[in-house]
Symmetry: C2
């Protein structure tokens, strides 16, 4: 196993020329921040945070976080105004404003994506003014504990998480952040120790590195229904693993178990799904025999972390309503790039007979209203009668017998859809592609890859 891990490490660890390039970029941006601040007569200090600052930076990563630290006496509005002004000037025309809990600016610089994030410089982490103020404290906590050996273990961990598809706390992934990876390695001591322990994790597990809580009882309540709880050493009220979904949690645990049985490099570097042609899509649809539907629409350049939760909300609403109407969904998924988005819904049962059971109250519950509603209804086909369980039942004419038509109605009503999704639908900026029509969306390469992955969906290390 050690030889293999070393092989992996050689592929992912930045070389000295990588490091030099990174340092050059960092120095240039930090100097520019200082220069702009001086010229605007604003007191602020740039600080490099994140993996680049801790030696836990993967060679393939191209993201940098530079925080602009302000005096805590400055009012919030003032900080945001000044901070953004400096960041915008530093960024120049490539800068785009983003918004997490607070606004920040994202710029492209020599092949790197650099986030410039204004925040308060607060010494006591218990007195944080907002979530971004916490990051410098994370920085210090990790830096004090990460030896170069441990940093390598973090690199392995991050690449493993990436390989199995659960690296990143963003809405699209709902997985493990870099900081979380670092804490797990600090806690368990090595990648292998982490894997051996995680193979035995159960949902609801609590990891409290600094033993802030006397028992698991309190964090269990505090972070109820979160599959993984890693108490933030810097802010014990926060779960560092809050973004980790049950799905990502389960994939990680499963991957750890399988990796221990057979440690293969594929866990770190999985194969891609086979590329998808129009012909192979049609062939797959035929083999599956389902009705694959794709709600396709444009969005106005919304950030991933905004559009993905809305797509998932839309996916849930559609599912609920379509299943409520009696149809069956085999699987569904969502996708977005910077301009387009899609909700994929695969109907396994898309045709229903015109008769439908309407279950009423079970004796001894009063059935008066039910009987009044259905006994004389024009939709009645049979009933009211009583079934084996003592439930009053009617059989009525079904309104919708066609799943695609039902889907069209649900979309046109767009109840409970994400806000921007609903807006696109109201504006008519959408199409519902059914079956072979989906080939039309395949010109979009990212969507085509998403679709290839959807149709040949499997755990990456099984590819």
């Amino acid at each position: 196993m050690v030889a293999m891990l070393n092989r992996v490490l050689r592929r992912i660890k930045p070389t000295s020329s990588d490091m030099q390039r990174l340092e050059r970029v960092v120095t240039q941006v930090m100097n520019k921040v200082r220069r702009v601040a001086r010229s605007r007569k604003v007191k602020t200090e740039p600080m490099l945070v994140g993996s680049a600052a801790r030696g836990t930076w993967l060679r393939s990563e191209r993201e940098l976080d530079i925080f602009l630290l302000f005096d805590p006496e400055m009012p919030r509005a003032e900080l945001e105004r000044q901070g953004l002004a400096i960041a915008r000037e530093v960024a120049g025309p490539s800068g785009r404003e983003h918004y997490a809990e607070h606004p920040y600016v994202r710029m492209e610089f020599e092949g790197f994506q650099v986030d410039l994030v204004p925040c308060y410089r607060i010494d006591d982490p218990r007195k944080l003014k907002s979530a971004v103020d916490r990051t410098p404290h994370h920085q210090r906590y990790v830096q004090q504990r990460l030896t170069p050996q441990l940093a390598d273990q973090v690199l392995l961990t991050k690449q493993f998480l990436r390989g199995i598809g659960v690296y990143g706390a963003e809405a699209r992934i709902q997985g493990f952040s870099g900081y979380l990876s670092e804490l797990l390695v600090i806690h368990y001591g090595s990648f292998q120790q982490l894997v051996e322990n995680a193979a035995r994790w159960k949902p609801g597990i609590v990891i409290d590195i600094e033993r802030v809580y006397p028992s698991e009882a309190e964090p269990r309540v505090l972070f109820e229904r979160q599959p993984l709880v890693v108490v933030d050493p810097v802010d014990p009220k926060r779960n560092v693993a809050a973004a980790v979904s049950m799905r990502s949690f389960a994939i990680f645990v499963l991957a750890c178990r399988e990796f221990l049985k057979e440690p293969r490099e594929q866990f770190f570097f999985p194969n891609s799904p086979p590329s998808l042609t129009q012909a192979s899509l049609l062939n797959q649809l035929k083999r599956r025999g389902t009705t694959l539907c794709c709600l396709w629409f444009r969005h106005n350049d919304l950030p991933e972390d905004v559009i993905y939760p809305q797509l998932r909300k839309t996916e849930r609403s559609i599912s609920n309503e379509v299943v409520q109407a009696g149809f069956e969904i085999l699987r569904s998924d969502v996708w977005a790039d910077s301009r387009n988005a899609a909700v994929l819904v695969e109907l396994s049962i898309s045709r229903l007979p015109p008769v439908q059971i309407r279950p009423g109250p079970q004796i001894p519950v009063d059935a008066t209203d039910f009987l009044r509603e259905y006994s004389g209804s024009r939709r009645r086909l049979a009933g009211p009668y009583v079934d084996e369980a003592g439930r009053v039942v009617c059989e009525v004419r079904r309104v919708e017998t066609d799943g695609v038509r039902c889907l069209k109605r649900v979309i046109s009503e767009h109840r409970g859809f994400g806000k921007h999704v609903a807006e696109s639908i109201e504006a008519g900026r959408y199409r519902l592609l059914v079956g072979r029509e989906i080939t039309k969306a395949m010109r979009n390469r990212s969507f085509r890859e998403f679709l290839a992955d959807y149709l040949d969906k499997r755990l990456p290390w099984y590819r």
Copy 2:
């Protein structure tokens, strides 16, 4: 209400000429029993029991029960031999042997169906030798308490139960016996009182007329999961309402509530379902859009109480397996006459796509076996992957996509079918009629009526 009940009573109460006819039949049969016993030198005494003996006999009823009482010293085998010999001689060529807990002879006599039942004459009901010995005690208990006024109330109760379709403890009905109707009237004092009380019954209600048990706790445990418990005053270990199914219970409670709101004669004398022609069957099938299937077979003259439980068992087995395979059943039912039987299964979903979800274990449960089975399987279409709930899932090629073909397989395997049903299938004495093929069975009038009722199924008072 009183006027209406009197109108009903006039229609159902035997006239004096009905009574004379009945008495003549009873006298003739009893005398014949005495004569045959004397000639065979057997000491036995005939006793008229049941409704005819208690004045709770509906004009339309044509059943008589005559018990042959034997000395309790006589051995069981001797009693059965002597009793049956006498009964057979009395019955002549129309006699047919039947079997409840013990054998008895059923004969046709002047338009009546007379059961001749040998049993022991036991004075202390706590020392009964078998279930049939209990009947003479029921007879005495009811006779001592039923005034002519109460007897009329029993007639109303029985006709009400018959009208709503739950009169009779036999397997086909699973409803209220005559003795149970009598006890309920004795307990509540009148038909109307019974209806008012039953409208508020909840499943699990205990009626203990003689207050044998200090509380409901003991009978609740003793008669667990029986919706209605009426403690037998003659034998407190017995629930007189043991045959009453949840369905029959619920129909009765519902009918009582609806009757109180609007007391109509229809509850006593419901309309028949419209008669069914071949054309109207086809029309109904089209309107429902389901796949109606009928397993039709011959049985060798099995009594109703034998064939019905077997048909229900078969119905349950078929349902379980077909639903297990992914199809959906809207409704099913069973039917039998003296020679033929049918299990009706109505598929609402009879076509499934070739792809099927195979759910595996949910993390943290071990998934090794599941992954081994499916990851390399030739039936695999997608997966293994992990769903939102943290469950490992595969998508595989479905073996059966056609519901009727599935039904054919289930029938040919006949696992868990009733014994005689399975025998008929093994002997090839069956057909599976699908959709319009069912018209072939419509020459059988009883089946045609059953089918009419099935297709226009509703509570009788709603017809």
